[in-house]
Amino acid sequence: MIEFRDVSQQYEAKKPIIRNLSLTVSQGEFVVLIGPSGCGKTTLLKMMNGLIQPDSGEIRIKGKELKAWDPITLKRNIGYVIQQVGLFPHLSIEKNIAYALDIQKAGETVKKQRARELIQLVGLDEDYLPKYPNELSGGQKQRVGIARALAADPEIILMDEPLGAVDQINRGVLQDEIIRIYQTLNKTIVFVTHDIEEAIKLGTKIVVMNQGEIMEVGSRDAIVFHSKSHFADDFIGNKGFLSYLNIVKIEQVVCPFNCSTNGNAAEKEMTLWVRADDPLIVGIRICLENGVNQIGVRDAAGRVVGAFDLSCLSRLKF
């Protein structure tokens, strides 16, 4: 979908913001770009829809060279969500959502219908359509921002720290929404953040950047457990591990009862249970609190699915 080969970009004369960078984003991936501020992650994102031109190197979007794209057409083919939302204050929510269709001269009925579809998709009521952005809360605005990016049904969506200005509680909810939208619509998403937890939670592929270079690219597991670069190790570190424990569900590490060698209680004698969709950290906490190695796991309907075992965890391949 998106391919960078040896791309460099000299933002100011002195320091190169992007240095000889190569990266491939495949269809259906959720790629998170993460790194300290000034590492070039936003610059990299803006190169993907032509807002910033590279000085050298090759960028291909959907197989076509960036220079071969008409800049307007390219941008219309890519959804774009920005940090401060950037909703148009003089347009109603409906018109904001339909803006991408409006500039492509879609008909009124198409625009109206699409706005109605999308506002529901992002979890807002249709009653919001005639309202104006200043009547919405920060979280609601960001939902509209996401709906707006989806209007023209682009295959690729770029998100530049979309949740940067949203409070902690809403942030979690919106992250879940984004995951849900990603899974239902099967889009390719590139997401910029400086929040490690967010990166671990959202990304199917995580790109750690520093000073205009990619330090490491990998899956969630690879980034947390097998980072090869010193920088990524330091940057992700225990914080990344902690969010990993918060995100990975117990169902992914369920083992049979009595799987460990130190002879544990059988299923019938089990008194401690967790739910399969609880995160790992809940299981670990219950074990530590009660001084046991093994507890039982039930699914949402209450059926027994197996055991969660501390000593078995070490045998799992991450």
Binding site: K75, Q83, L87, P89, H90, A100, I103, Q104, Y132, L158
Partner: protein, 213 residues
């Protein structure tokens, strides 16, 4: 008291005369206002693309603005002669500053994030201007136009000094014949005209602000 009575009488007995002057004044101002709005807004839009051009143009209009109006009228008499044309030219030159400046400021002060979102979604330059920038700058532009309208109507009163029509004729006649009621009547009508025009624009401005806030 006597004076006000005389003034009322004058306005009544010479109502045809005043109405004609009022209409001339309105016409003169209106032509200038339309030209100023079109030229001013267009110039403001054009210079919003380039900081350098903006400082040159705004600097220039600033200088023109500081020239005393009577001198400006006099100067143009030597080029375009006496009469309405000269008056309109001088009025246009004066009125341009607030309109150009407000259009420029209104346009460049639109939030960068909003512009980036619009550009990033694939707006053409014309769409960016017509659908985003201009509507958002409109309250500031209208404020500039409002300012200019009042100024132009007031300034048009001086136009009769160079042979143009309008309520300035009454003021001028009042001064030269030591006829105070005539001077005051002319001045009052100029003020009234400016006041009404400002009120109308105020209503329009309010309506626009409600939509764009």
């Amino acid at each position: 008291m006597e004076f006000i009575k005389n003034l009322g009488e004058l306005l009544q007995t010479r109502s045809d005369f005043f109405i004609e002057l009022l209409l001339q004044h309105l016409m003169l101002s209106l032509i200038a206002i339309v030209i100023i709005t079109v030229v001013g807004v267009t110039t403001g839009i054009l210079i919003s693309k380039s900081k350098k051009a903006a400082s040159v143009v705004i600097g220039l209009t600033n200088v023109l603005y500081t020239i005393p109006s009577i001198a400006m009228f006099g100067f143009f008499v030597s080029i375009t002669g006496i009469g309405n044309t000269t008056a309109i030219i001088a009025l246009v030159i004066y009125g341009l500053l607030p309109v150009i400046r407000n259009t420029y400021v209104g346009l460049i002060e639109v939030d960068d994030q909003i512009l980036e979102a619009a550009v990033g979604m694939g707006s053409t330059p014309w769409q960016l201007l017509s659908k985003i920038q201009f509507p958002l700058a409109l309250p500031v532009i209208i404020a500039g136009i409002r300012n200019m309208v009042v100024m132009t109507i007031a300034l048009a009163g001086i136009a009769s000094f160079i042979g143009a029509g309008g309520l300035g004729v009454a003021i001028w006649r009042g001064i030269t014949t030591n006829f105070d009621e005539m001077t005051v009547a002319g001045s009052l009508l100029v003020a009234l005209l400016a006041f009404v025009a400002d009120g109308i624009l105020g209503v329009i401005e309010k309506r626009l602000l409600r939509r764009t806030k």
